[in-house]
Symmetry: C3
Subunit: 150 residues, 3 copies
């Protein structure tokens, strides 16, 4: 089973590297705008970079949870592709937010939509597994065998 999961592991690792990149950008912004820890606010340019990183960090565990739930219970391939799209959306969100508060919106909506797709895949995977394990019915097979009747 671990063989199917290597794509999910690669996407997770890419997500970790992206978060490391965002954290470095906050360190550079702290130096540029002279905002020393423990302070967390300064000029609006700094605040935007700081909040962009904080928002991505807040969503990271949610992303990892649905990436793996969807990957293990629905499809590792589709989940990995969605995971890459999400990380791309988050990169564009970070760059957009760093420039203006308005610039964060389009990529934020995009990454939220990808997250909802992963939540949908996870839900399908969990419901299908419930049917197989507890009702001893395979929904995919049921749909498949009913098709000639349509």
């Amino acid at each position: 089973m671990m063989d199917d999961m290597v794509g999910l592991a690669a996407v997770s690792l890419l997500g970790v590297l992206e978060q490391a990149y965002f954290s470095l950008q906050v360190i550079y912004a702290r130096r540029k705008f002279s905002v020393s820890p423990p302070r967390t606010s300064g000029p609006p340019e700094f605040d935007r970079v700081f909040r962009a990183q904080a928002n991505c960090a807040e969503y990271f565990p949610i992303f990892i949870t649905v990436l793996w739930t969807s990957g293990v219970f629905f499809s590792p391939g589709l989940s990995s592709v969605c995971g890459l799209l999400y990380l791309y959306g988050r990169f564009r969100y970070f760059c957009g937010y760093s420039q203006s508060a308005q610039g964060r919106l389009a990529p934020l909506y995009f990454s939220a939509q990808v997250l909802w797709v992963l939540i949908g895949f996870s839900s399908l995977g969990v419901v299908f597994s419930f049917c197989r394990v507890y009702l001893r019915v395979d929904p995919i097979q049921v749909v498949w065998s009913a098709l000639p009747l349509v």
Copy 2:
């Protein structure tokens, strides 16, 4: 083994949906009290909603970690039930905190207690597995076989 884990996956997914609900409430509060990003503070009503969501988000990865450690190494059924209680406690915490700082306390203590139960289950599961793997002793069997001697 994945069959036993479907309950844990369902609880994790419910946790993700709960976090999504809390995030939406912050967005509504931002609109209602006119607190535009990157600002994170405003009137006390907004601050309470913002902090309630931030606190739940901070505890989410801790919850997921003990839910799965407890579920995989101790009991998937008991862990799923505790997971549901924790998510219920967090929902009451969010609603209570949104109304008053005092209102957050009772559900906060409740969800902390459930988290400690999950930490206890995880510890038992890890210690039992250590005994089985490294000492080749099954603690449950030892206790069971010693019972007639009591």
Copy 3:
């Protein structure tokens, strides 16, 4: 396979207990410096404790992700040892930051280095697994069999 993972589960659980300890320190600091929720800033002594906890909480899901990726795809033993070093570094970071902003730096660099080692292990593990699964080549065996030719 679960037998190899018990060390990773033990380190994860230790990480959860460490986070619980940090959270308690914030509660004590809130009482000591009279900073009631939802406020998140007060005298510099409080701000340092608050930020130390927030920074550790932000890195916790990243740590758990690379700990398990490295443990499952590279080596559970080496990853567990790195995990313990990371948690030790974070403990020294929290204590150092609580005393002065300068005091956080040395243990912060140390824990960042350990995190990069875990990221390196994870990358090796993922690349090796990709080669085995998709190219049907085992990189370790290739290196091993090429050694007599050197």
